[in-house]
């Protein structure tokens, strides 16, 4: 927000300048004082909130303190304080945070992801021992974890289209739906006149319908969805910018409606999607007895009839196994996404995003490159959709609203377009909010906030779309590059790219003239 800020920003900049003119000690003192006052006020409202703010303040100030002896002393003191007074879990969180600060800056890029992956993998074991987060309530359970991971995959997929290639896709839900329906067709009783079995687990081998193993199904669903992506992309990708957004939105509305109306496909009497009743149940996942026995039961034969094992004192349920499978799928997605980003194709996407004309002049085939972006994004959306459908064991046309497209877009925007870490954080957080967080927050508000003498009784579920809308609005207005931005994308958003009119390039001159009355 430097020289591109709109006129209303000027007054704020004045305040900021005056703030920077103060001596440094005074500024630090005022900030700490203000934080403590706010923490005390919050403590009066809810003790946990006060603790939370104090912890955050400590985390904020610790790395800014003078080096080792002082910092060490402060950290030890804090740990002691929280061990004695605060909830035990705060101390654990703080200890992890300190460990992160002690890792030299150069190794943080590798150490933090590895620790994060370990923490996520071990999560089901210590989920029940976690503390209660103020306002947000208990930590998400594993079921929510699967939901979060599936949507993180979709967000990483959409990030390829929106973040890398800069093509606004408002119909991503179409890919989710395609993946889910592909999964449903190949693992259910939907086509009773055909009987085809290939490695499916947990069902009678004489059962009618197409049943193939989920390990083959996932890439198949991805491929089918990528094909749909190419089919959608070929006629439309020559359109630019907002026209493309509208066309994708159109497809995002058409495909679910086709799914809803295709219990009598095109009037032929052929039941393609079972209409509004959806397709359920779907076959379970599993490795089959051969692989399961060969690995000594480490890989379960059938997820649904699993498991008797214990993991760090935690009785493993089938949801946990789905959760770990989702982690593996997400890791593969993230790996592919990283490799794509710096490949020849990925660099071509970025070139197109920044200046289509220049990219074409440099010999990048626009249509082919854009179609690849679409196909790759669709692939991951399809795999995630298929996996989630198998997990839910159902596919309903009502799952695929325009709101879902915007929800996934919101994840990408909140996290930071073009940055995988940002997208993962944004997606995980929003999916958690959608599934548990908002309901918990609503319950907290309804029981702790009083309007006059009665509780507000807000049904938070009803207002979800507006909350996402608000998040989009706030992020776009105040931090368009997202929470964890990609440096390159942030520069584009602040300095502008090719597709703005001449007016914007000359806006400095315009500001001088703009005040003149007509």
């Amino acid at each position: 927000m430097t020289d591109v800020a709109a006129p209303p920003m000027r007054e704020r900049r004045g305040l900021r300048e005056r703030w920077h003119e103060l001596p440094e000690q005074q500024r630090i003192g005022i900030t700490i004082g203000a934080q403590i006052v706010v923490a005390i006020l919050l403590y009066l409202l809810d003790s946990a909130l006060g603790y939370a703010l104090l912890t955050l303040s400590a985390l904020y100030w610790l790395p800014r303190l003078p080096p080792l002896p002082w910092r060490l002393a402060a950290e030890v003191a804090l740990v002691a304080v929280f061990l004695v007074f605060g909830p035990r879990a705060f101390a654990v969180v703080l200890a992890i945070a300190f460990a992160v600060f002690w890792v030299p800056a150069r190794q943080r890029g590798t150490v933090i992801p590895v620790v994060a992956v370990f923490a996520v993998v071990l999560y089901p074991a210590f989920q029940s021992h976690m503390f209660t987060i103020p306002v947000f309530g208990v930590w998400p359970d594993t079921q929510t974890g699967v939901y979060m991971l599936a949507f993180m995959m979709m967000a990483v997929g959409l990030n390829i289209v929106v973040g890398y290639a800069g093509l606004l896709d408002l119909g991503y839900v179409a890919f989710y739906a395609t993946g889910a329906y592909t999964a449903a067709w190949f693992t259910s009783l939907q086509f009773p006149h055909t009987t085809f079995h290939f490695g499916a687990v947990g069902i009678d081998p004489k059962l009618p319908g197409i049943h193939i193993t989920v390990w083959l199904l996932l890439p198949l669903a991805g491929a089918v969805t990528a094909l749909i992506g190419i089919l959608i992309g070929l006629p439309t990708l020559r359109l630019r910018g907002d026209y493309l957004a509208i066309v994708t939105l159109g497809f995002g509305e058409i495909l679910p409606q086709v799914a809803r109306n295709s219990d009598n496909f095109l009037g032929t009497g052929f039941n393609l999607t079972n209409g509004p009743n959806g397709i359920t149940p779907l076959d379970s996942m599993g490795f089959g007895h051969t692989i399961s026995n060969a690995t000594g039961g480490f890989l379960p034969a059938n997820y649904l009839s699993c498991c008797s094992a214990k993991f760090l004192g935690h009785a493993v349920s089938y949801v946990d196994v789905f959760y770990w499978t989702a982690i593996v799928l997400l890791l593969i997605t993230v790996f592919c996404s990283f490799r794509l980003q710096y490949s020849r194709l990925g660099r071509a996407w970025i070139a197109i995003r920044e200046d289509e004309t220049a990219a074409a002049a440099m010999g990048i085939p626009l249509m082919r490159t854009k179609t690849w972006a679409y196909a790759s994004g669709a692939f991951f959306g399809g795999v995630a959709g298929a996996f989630y459908a198998v997990f839910k064991s159902s596919t309903f046309p009502g799952d695929f609203f325009f709101q879902i497209s915007v929800f996934i877009l919101c994840m990408v925007i909140l996290g930071g377009m073009g940055n995988i870490w940002g997208v993962l954080v944004g997606a995980g957080f929003l999916a958690y909010l959608d599934r548990e967080g908002l309901a918990n927050t609503g319950a907290w508000i309804n029981s702790n906030i009083h309007v006059g003498s009665h509780h507000p009784n807000i049904d938070v579920d009803l207002y979800k779309p507006g909350i996402y809308g608000l998040i989009i609005l706030i992020v776009m207005l105040f931090r368009p590059e997202g929470l964890i931005p990609s440096k390159r994308r942030a520069a584009e958003l602040h300095e502008g790219v090719h597709d703005e009119p001449l007016y914007d390039i000359a806006h400095g001159a315009y500001d001088e003239v703009g005040g003149v009355e007509a």
Binding site: V4, A6, P8, G166, L168, L170, P235, T236, L239, R240, G241, D242, Y243, A245, I246, V247, L249, G250, E253, I254, Q257, N261, F402, Q403, V406, L409, I413, L462, Y463, P465, G466, I467, Y468, G469, L470, I472, L473, M476, L477, P480, E492, L493, G496, V497, D499, E500, P501, L502, Y503, D504, A506, H507, A509, Y510, V513, G514, G515, V516, E517, A518
Partner: protein, 350 residues
């Protein structure tokens, strides 16, 4: 830039139809054949459906004009416009019933109340639209073009939630004041007053808009800003004020459409604006976005297609498919003729 891109392709198109446009013409011919068969089989239904389509087309025209005005001046697809229209319907019902105490069978006072409600709703929606522009779009004037589009989606959802919090999740209904008596009858098919009233309210609003854009100083400023904001600013036009004024007009039109919808359809819900807004946007694209007569023409065509689809008997897909058909039209137009029926060829479409 537009002229450079359009000159050779236009010439090529005139000399020899490309395979793409041949397919497009084929589709149109198929559509006309389907209409003809329906006309011969059930002429009565056909005329009834025709008048229904024309009436809804009028409502769509008012909304589509708002899209086209804003697109013309800012090159922004104002996603929130449909929701402004929906709020217009809610304003109408609130003003008419709570402020003026309108109810069925009040005689000639009804006309006065409806007119007063119309003015109030247009004003309220206009102000709402100006506020939205000020809060959500103006700070992004210098951002990449997709940024305000994304913001507009956010605003659209926020407006829906506002309506939800205000009126609740159920349909709210308006008093039955448009008379159901017939104006004239053709071959046993009645043309009712309520359908005529929609047209009678739409036409003066459209004429006022045409006068405003063509003949007033402010309209001239709007056209100048739409053509070239830099040049307009250099000529001493206050660009920001002109953009605000455009949003005011667009909002007022959405308010008028909201009133017609509220009284004609008689029930409205918080999510009505999104679907109708997209349909109206399709109409604007069909006519050629940025082109005012095009928006009206496109809206009437879309209204007719929707009515034919939902009302005709011979091989009509029915209302289950309305949305898919409208969006297919949108996609087909963007693929075959991105400049619309009456629009100019743009770099986006080329």
């Amino acid at each position: 830039m537009a002229a450079d891109a359009s000159a050779p392709s236009l010439a090529r198109r005139l000399s020899r139809p490309s395979p793409v446009s041949a397919v497009g013409l084929g589709l149109v011919a198929l559509l006309l054949f389907w209409l003809l068969v329906n006309l011969i089989k059930t002429p009565g239904d056909f005329f009834d459906v025709l008048t229904i389509g024309f009436t809804t087309g009028c409502v769509y025209a008012l909304i589509a004009l708002g899209y086209t005005l804003v697109y013309g001046i800012l090159e922004l697809i104002n996603f929130a416009h449909g929701d402004v229209f929906m709020l217009g319907g809610m304003f109408t019902i609130t003003f008419a019933t709570h402020l003026f105490g309108l109810h069925h069978g009040q005689g000639s006072v009804t006309i006065l109340i409806v007119l007063a409600t119309l003015l109030l709703t247009m004003g309220a929606c206009g102000l709402l639209n100006v506020t939205i522009e000020f809060i959500a779009y103006r700070p992004l004037r210098h951002a990449p073009r997709l940024a305000p589009l994304i913001t507009a989606i956010g605003v659209s959802f926020i407006l829906q939630d506002i309506a939800l919090a205000w009126k609740g999740p159920e349909y709210i209904s308006s008093p039955d004041v448009f008379p159901r008596s017939s104006v004239f009858t053709i071959g046993g098919v009645e043309y009712t007053w309520r359908r005529l009233l929609v047209v009678l309210i739409t036409v003066p609003v459209l004429l006022a808009l045409v006068y405003l854009v063509q003949n007033t100083r402010q309209g001239k400023a709007m056209r100048a800003t739409a053509q070239d904001r830099d040049a307009a600013a250099i000529m001493g036009i206050n660009v920001n004020r002109t953009i605000s004024f455009t949003f005011l007009i667009a909002g007022a039109l959405a308010g008028a459409a909201g009133l017609l919808y509220a009284f004609y359809v008689q029930n409205i819900r918080f999510d009505a604006g999104f679907q109708l807004g997209l349909i109206a946007f399709t109409a604007a694209v069909l006519g050629g976005i940025g082109n005012l007569p095009g928006a009206v023409l496109g809206a009437i065509i879309i209204g007719l297609i929707q009515a034919f689809n939902e009302g005709l008997n011979w091989h009509a897909p029915g209302s289950d498919w309305t949305q898919s058909i409208v969006f297919s039209i949108l996609i087909l137009i963007l693929v075959f003729r991105p400049e619309g029926l009456l629009g100019e060829r743009t770099p986006e479409g080329g």
